[in-house]
């Protein structure tokens, strides 16, 4: 019994280390890659708002790809994702596939906005068309995902929306008040979009954590 507990603990520690190393590597190489592309001028002369949007976008794409790994290869996915075993991934394959594609779509959508003209290489009509198309795909996927969710996942989704709303009130509203009164700089419209994406990600972690879904397995 003691031996089994020790083995389980070692397995957990190995998994945490693997997750941290993998997350660190993905984050590091994504950041280095973006900085390199910006430096060589391939992405145009991006301003700070566009660069921040690009980093958040890549985070979405990277997380979506990690989820996708769990869908395509549950055995490997179980080693890097926070699930009990590959059975969990197989059981929720459909909903995870929808989540993975949705996250990549959200990331690509934000990339298109971040790289939009006049500073970026993507023309404004193309960026707008990509955003509208991405939004339609996301709504369609969300409706399909809702049908597959059990009551816990629906509760987590509701919690996430609720938390995101209050975070936006706090961060966006707070910043707006400070900027209005002259204590902070005005943010750009792209910053507003980026904050929405970032807040949704943070809210999702909080909502999952509150239901014990982030506990290391």
């Amino acid at each position: 019994m003691v031996e089994q507990t020790k083995l389980q603990r070692n397995k957990k520690v190995r998994k945490i280390v693997l997750q941290l190393v993998l997350g660190g590597l993905v984050g590091y190489f994504s950041a280095v890659g973006v900085v390199w592309l910006i430096d060589i001028g391939v992405l145009g002369a991006l301003n700070t708002s566009q660069e921040v949007a690009l980093f958040i976008a890549l985070l979405y794409v990277a997380l979506g790809m990690l989820l996708g790994l769990g869908v395509l290869h549950p055995r490997t996915g179980a080693r890097v994702l926070n699930v009990e075993d590959e059975g969990d991934l197989r059981e929720q394959r459909r909903i995870m596939a929808l989540s993975a594609v949705s996250m990549v779509v959200m990331g690509v959508l934000l990339v298109m906005l971040a790289l939009a003209a006049p500073n970026g290489p993507v023309s404004q009509p193309v960026a707008l068309a990509a955003t509208v198309l991405g939004a339609i795909v996301l709504v369609w996927f969300s409706i399909r995902a809702l049908a597959d969710m059990d009551e816990l996942m629906r509760a987590v989704t509701r919690d996430c929306g609720e938390i995101a709303y209050y975070l936006l009130m706090l961060i966006g509203g707070g910043w707006a008040v400070l900027a209005y009164l002259g204590y902070a700089a005005n943010i750009t419209m792209l910053d507003f979009v980026t904050v929405n994406f970032a807040v949704l990600l943070v809210a999702s972690y909080i909502a999952n954590g509150r239901r014990g879904l982030l506990k290391t397995r």
Partner: protein, 69 residues
């Protein structure tokens, strides 16, 4: 809300996955209920009670008592 779901499940010899399958929910839902991270809906609580052949108050423990008249 505190509950005895784990005790009843283990007495039945079922894993979390097996109970989840019988109730038509995910294994995470069973885990979240057992660890008091999630209170199930009334329909799910009723299904759990029906599955174990007990009343809902046997599964879910509420300390509240009505005030004496």
């Amino acid at each position: 809300m505190r509950n005895n779901l784990k005790e009843y499940r283990e007495a039945a010899g079922w894993s979390q996955g097996e109970l989840a399958r019988r109730l038509g929910v995910s294994r995470q839902t069973i885990n979240a209920v057992e660890t008091d991270k999630y209170d199930p809906s009334l329909p799910l609580a009723l299904r759990m009670a029906k599955l174990f052949g007990v009343a809902v108050p046997n599964l879910f423990i509420d300390q509240w008592e009505p005030e004496a008249e």
